[in-house]
C-alpha cells in the first residue's frame, strides 16, 4: 500500500495546546511519528537574566498555564536554599493548601479532556463548571483567579481571610458528592472499558530509563512520588497513600497489566480523593504564627554565590528549577525542567508506531502533555 503524510497541526481539538505531530500512515495504521514543538516559545530563561530576584516572581507563573503554583513554589524553594532561610510553620501549611487545590483543578481538566477524545462531551463541560468553584476560592485568598503571584521566597504574601476555612470545607463536600456522578458517567461506562485497556503501552522495565515521571510512572506499578521521596512544605506531617496500579486502586476493575491508558486514568481518579483528604487535614490543623519572614529591600537584594535545585510534584510529573547565582542582583542562569519535555517528544515518537489513527488523540491526552513547559 502507499503511504501518505498527515499534519495534525497547531490548532486542533485533538491536541492539548499548540503542538504539531507529523504522521506517516499506511491505510489506518501509523508507521512513524515526529513531534514539532516551538509554537509557544517566549524566551523565559533569557528574560529572567535581566530582571531582579523579586521581579521574577511576577513572570514565573506564566510558564505553565493549567497549574501555575508549582512554578512559584519551586523557584521560592531554590532561592531559599541559596539564602539559607527557614520559613515559618504556618506558611508551610498554607503552601500545601494552595498546591493541592491547584492539583485538583488540573486533574479535572485532564480527565475531562480525555473523555472528550473518546466522544463523551458531557464530562468536560461538567468538570469545567466544577473547577469554577475552586477558582473562586483562589480569588478570595490571593486576589486573582489564574495567575496568583502568591508564594514568595520567605513565605506567602498575606494571611487567610475570615471565614475561609468553612468555605473550603463546603467546596470539598460538594466535590465529593460529584465524584459518584463521574463514576457512573465515565469510569464505569462500557465504551471506556472497550477503548482504554491495552492502548498506548509503555514497556515496564524501560519506563524509568525513558524519563517517565508522575502519575504515568505510578500507573506502571512503581510507587514513586516526590511528596514521599523528597518531602517539602508540610507533607511529612500529612497522612495520605501513594496510589499505584494495580495495588492500591480499590473499587475499580482490573482489566489489564498496567502502563496503558486505562491505568493512567484510574490512577488520576483515585488521587483526587487523596487530595481532598490532604486539604481537610491541613485546614483543621493550621498552626498559629506569622506567615512570612522579613522581606529584604527588593531594589538591593543580592543572593550569595552557588548552585541550587528544587523539585515539586505537579499533576503531570516532576517539576524542577536549577538556579545558578554569582552574587549579583540578577540570576545568572535559570533552567526549568518540565515534565512534558520527555513525555512529549521521545515517548510519543516511540509509542505511536503501530497504533490506529483513532487512538492518537486518546494516547496524547492520557499522557497529559502540556506544550508550554516543553519550550518555555
Amino acid at each position: 500500500m502507499k503511504e501518505y503524510e498527515l499534519f495534525i497541526g497547531p490548532q486542533h481539538v485533538g491536541i492539548t495546546g499548540n503542538f504539531m505531530v507529523h504522521l506517516t500512515l499506511e491505510g489506518d495504521t501509523v508507521v512513524s511519528a515526529e513531534a514539532h514543538p516551538g509554537y509557544l516559545h517566549r524566551g523565559f530563561e533569557k528574560l529572567m537574566e535581566r530582571r531582579d530576584w523579586s521581579m521574577n516572581v511576577a513572570l514565573i507563573p506564566r510558564i505553565c498555564v493549567p497549574e501555575p503554583d508549582v512554578n512559584e513554589a519551586a523557584y521560592a524553594m531554590a532561592v531559599e536554599s541559596l539564602m539559607g532561610w527557614d520559613i515559618p510553620e504556618r506558611a508551610k501549611y498554607i503552601r500545601t493548601i494552595v498546591l493541592e487545590l491547584a492539583r485538583i483543578s488540573a486533574y479535572l481538566l485532564a480527565i475531562g479532556g480525555y473523555a472528550g477524545t473518546i466522544g463523551l462531551y458531557t464530562a468536560p463541560q461538567w468538570m469545567m463548571g466544577d473547577r469554577d468553584y475552586i477558582l473562586d476560592l483562589f480569588e478570595e485568598l490571593t486576589g486573582a483567579r489564574v495567575y496568583h503571584i502568591f508564594i514568595f521566597p520567605g513565605g506567602v504574601r498575606w494571611d487567610i481571610p475570615d471565614g475561609f476555612e468553612e468555605r473550603v470545607k463546603k467546596v470539598m463536600d460538594y466535590l465529593e458528592s460529584r465524584l459518584q456522578l463521574y463514576d457512573e458517567l465515565l469510569f464505569k461506562n462500557e465504551v471506556f472499558f472497550r477503548r482504554a485497556p491495552n492502548i498506548g503501552v509503555i514497556p515496564k522495565d524501560k519506563a524509568v530509563e525513558w524519563g517517565v515521571t508522575g502519575p504515568n510512572l505510578r500507573a506502571c506499578g512503581y510507587d514513586y512520588d516526590v511528596r514521599r521521596l523528597d518531602p517539602y512544605a508540610a507533607y511529612e506531617e500529612m497522612d495520605f497513600d501513594v496510589i499505584s496500579y494495580p495495588d492500591s486502586v480499590k473499587g475499580f476493575d482490573i482489566l489489564s497489566d498496567g502502563c496503558d491508558c486505562y491505568a493512567r486514568m484510574v490512577v488520576r481518579r483515585v488521587e483526587l480523593q487523596e487530595s481532598i483528604k490532604i486539604i481537610r487535614q491541613a485546614v483543621d490543623n493550621l498552626p498559629p504564627g506569622e506567615v512570612t519572614l522579613k522581606r529584604p529591600n527588593p531594589l538591593a537584594w543580592k543572593v550569595p554565590k552557588g548552585y541550587a535545585y528544587a523539585r515539586v510534584e505537579s499533576s503531570k510529573g516532576e517539576y524542577g528549577y536549577f538556579v545558578v547565582s554569582n552574587g549579583g542582583k540578577n540570576p545568572y542562569r535559570v533552567h526549568v525542567r518540565g515534565p512534558s519535555y520527555t513525555h512529549g517528544i521521545n515517548v510519543i515518537e516511540t509509542i505511536l508506531k503501530g497504533s490506529n489513527i483513532a487512538d492518537v488523540s486518546p494516547i496524547m491526552f492520557s499522557l497529559d502533555i502540556c506544550p508550554p513547559d516543553i519550550e518555555r
Binding site: H41, M77, S81, E209, L229, D230, E318, H335
Partner: protein
C-alpha cells in the same frame, strides 16, 4: 555510596530534604563515569544543563542523575572550551538525552558527536548567533530587525 574517585561537595538544601552532591569530572572520562553510575542504581536522568561563563571563556555542562533506591542527587560537571565546544553524546545510555542535546546545540552552539539528529528544534528559520550566549543582546537585535510601534500618546486620534 560509591564515589568512583570523584571529590563531591554538598550543596545547600532548604524546602526539600535529601542530599545533593556536586563534583567535577575531566572531559575524556565523563561518559564512562555516567555508565558506571547508571549500573550502580542512578537510572533516572533528570536534566542536562549548560552555563556560559563568559569571563573565564568556558562552557559548563552539568549532568544531573537521581537514584530511587539511595535517594541522593548527583551533579557531574564538565568544563569545555568556548570557542570550539564539542562533547560525546550519551544517547545510547539514556534515549531522552537526544532532546536535551538538540536544544543545547540550538541555543548555545555545542556539537555532540554521535547524535545525528541535530536539526532545528524550537526556533524556526533562525539565522543569527546562538541566542542563549551572554554576548547576544536581545534588545539590540529586536530594534534592528523589527518594525517598532511608537508608545501610547504619540499616535494620532482614533484606532
Amino acid at each position: 555510596m560509591e564515589t568512583f574517585g570523584i571529590d563531591f561537595k554538598e550543596l545547600p538544601v532548604k524546602g526539600n530534604t535529601r542530599k545533593r552532591l556536586y563534583g567535577s569530572v575531566e572531559l575524556d572520562r565523563i561518559k564512562e563515569h555516567i555508565r558506571k553510575f547508571k549500573e550502580v542504581g542512578f537510572n533516572h536522568l533528570v536534566a542536562i544543563s549548560c552555563i556560559d561563563w563568559i569571563d573565564d571563556g568556558k562552557f559548563e555542562v552539568v549532568y544531573h542523575l537521581w537514584s530511587y533506591e539511595e535517594l541522593v542527587d548527583i551533579f557531574l560537571s564538565v568544563m569545555i572550551d568556548r570557542d570550539n565546544p564539542s562533547l560525546q553524546s550519551v544517547k545510547e545510555l539514556f534515549p531522552q538525552a537526544e532532546t536535551y542535546e538538540r536544544e543545547m546545540h540550538e541555543m548555545f552552539g555545542v556539537y555532540f558527536d554521535g547524535n545525528d539528529r541535530l536539526t532545528e528544534f524550537i526556533l524556526e528559520d533562525w539565522d543569527g548567533p546562538p541566542p542563549m550566549r551572554k554576548d547576544f543582546d536581545t534588545k539590540k537585535y529586536a530594534e534592528e530587525r523589527f518594525y517598532s510601534v511608537p508608545p501610547v500618546g504619540d499616535v494620532d486620534e482614533g484606532v
